[in-house]
Symmetry: C2
Subunit: 338 residues, 2 copies
């Protein structure tokens, strides 16, 4: 009765219903786009909703529907270029589909921290999660831990039974190596990422395949860890190999590698050609500008959400999505000089 004049309480469905002269259920129907509501009533209700600034209470809604319209993002290394861009794509696609995005990061790949992160997301009763953690270790942990929601991965080209979107990193690596072969190089080394990353494995495989198919040896392999520091060390130690070109698994390592190589007195690309991976925004301003492989990580995020929502709607796992890379040629790679 009296509550008609208490503006401090946000309006609820009943308020809308009362003012529009209908039942709360009709308001609900309008809100959910139910077909059997007459046009005139629908319009009247919508007007009142607008006037009152009514917004539906998600807690009450998800209490009864058992859906939260929230997707969880399980992430790590959010500071790395790829993952952070992916997150951006995830968020915008989720918002477009009227979903919320809740994040949980893991600091390490232990079962314990994955379980904690999963519990955290589970507590919020997310409808599904997207894993932006590119370690097989995580997927293993995931398969060991019981969970009640669909999981989609947003990373590499391999990957197991889970629905996923992926950037075709193997192809990207092949393109990089192909480019070097076309320039006349025959001894092409690789500085890889840590082998507990899918991305690293895929890029190694692509490197190896391209060389083998061209009848070349794939025997100069240095394992790195994505950091510029490790790339620098690899560059310094280059003297012990006879490679005239290197494919480096990411741009940051390539940056360090460039410096290491140049400190040894070698010139890039005259003495050694270098190709990176990621095309992070400043790769064009390395010294010299870096030839690298570009991936659309934002698109990866968007497709992952799409795959997850499809899985949520249909219950079936949609076919894997592949996103193709492109090579960006700059000054760090050039023809072989002998």
């Amino acid at each position: 009765m009296t509550d008609a004049l208490l503006p401090q309480r946000p309006p609820v469905m009943k308020d809308v219903a009362r003012i529009a002269g209908v039942s709360h259920q009709t308001v609900s129907r309008v809100l959910n786009g139910h077909p059997s509501v007459s046009a005139s009533v629908r319009e009247r209700v919508e007007t009142v909703i607008e006037e009152l600034g009514y917004r539906r209470n998600v807690a009450a809604r998800s209490l009864v529907t058992r859906r939260s319209r929230t997707v969880g993002v399980l992430a790590t290394e959010l500071v790395q270029y790829g993952p952070s861009r992916t997150l951006l794509g995830l968020e915008s696609a989720a918002r477009d589909a009227d979903y919320f995005v809740s994040i949980a990061t893991v600091r390490d790949v232990s079962i314990k921290s994955v379980r904690e992160a999963l519990n955290h997301l589970g507590d919020q009763s997310v409808d599904g999660i997207v894993v932006v953690v590119p370690h097989p270790g995580i997927l293993e942990a995931l398969s060991l831990i019981e969970h009640s929601f669909p999981v989609v991965t947003a990373t590499s080209a391999t990957g197991g039974p889970l629905g996923s979107a992926a950037v075709n990193q193997r192809l990207g690596a092949r393109m990089a190596v192909q480019h070097l072969i076309e320039l006349g190089h025959t001894r092409i080394g690789h500085v890889s990422g840590p082998m507990n990353w899918f991305d690293a494995v895929e890029r190694v495989e692509g490197w190896r395949e391209a060389l083998t198919e061209a009848g070349l040896q794939a025997d100069i392999l240095i394992q790195g860890d994505w950091t510029a520091e490790r790339g620098y060390e690899a560059g310094l130690s280059l003297g012990s190999s006879d490679a005239s070109a290197f494919f480096i698994a990411n741009d940051q390592m390539a940056l360090g590698f460039l410096r290491g190589v140049q400190e040894c007195g070698l010139r890039v690309p005259d003495d050694v050609s270098i190709v990176g991976y990621d095309d992070q925004p400043d790769a064009g301003f390395f010294y010299p500008p870096l030839t690298t492989v570009k991936q659309d990580f934002e698109e990866l995020g968007r497709r992952s959400i799409k795959a997850l929502l499809e899985q949520l709607d249909s219950g079936t796992i949609p076919p894997k999505q592949m996103i193709d890379p492109a090579i960006v040629v700059r000054a760090s790679s050039g023809p072989l000089r002998r």
Copy 2:
């Protein structure tokens, strides 16, 4: 009765209560750490909770408490080094405090997109939000839009009526300039960020203050936009100034600047000294390694959450937190040579 054997339905409070032989309210009390529960009952209930793997339903809880235990993060430029690190800190602090983190990004600074993001977070009835968007424009929009939850900013040293944590960027800029003055430089230029960023403004101010206090002119100012490309252009145009040293507002621009300067035939640091800002992970592997200012952005995130939760508990706005920077000296800065 019969539902004791239906494992597909996740257990609810009543199930725990029944098995433990208490009322559901007692279970609730145990869960919420209410003092007046006897030790024996508490233990019994906890055992059952453990056995059943019971987890409390947040939707039901927040329906009645009108709190969601969720903090919203309003962010943009999540790919930039500072913001992405800040997000990491935010997430871990929030999780420690048993809060969820829900993100909403804005692509531009228009009132429209801020309102949309705010509505999005509001729909989820977040308890408060942390703004990681360093534009005054956003704060302005924020103050124009009606919102019903506390807001904390995580950025710069100035900032208005809102609670906040901040990195002391003015001090950081002063330290950078101080360092150059100590090396004997008297003509010190600055390449700034876009002036619609607090961070950019603060760094300019710090630069200006340090110079003025030393009795030096602060008249060589180039406006940039954080990108390496713009830094590169600035570096190329350096010829038209008589500066022997430059303070660059972030590392990415410094990278481009380095390259531009060197393309002009100048050597770093022999002909010109350069100091950046951020100490992003690969700054030590630029060519030459970059002297820069380090900020603990993760700590910034943590303190922001702390400030927000305090505000949530006490209702009062806690005093602003300041995080001090540190200078990291590398090879890109050296004594003045005349």
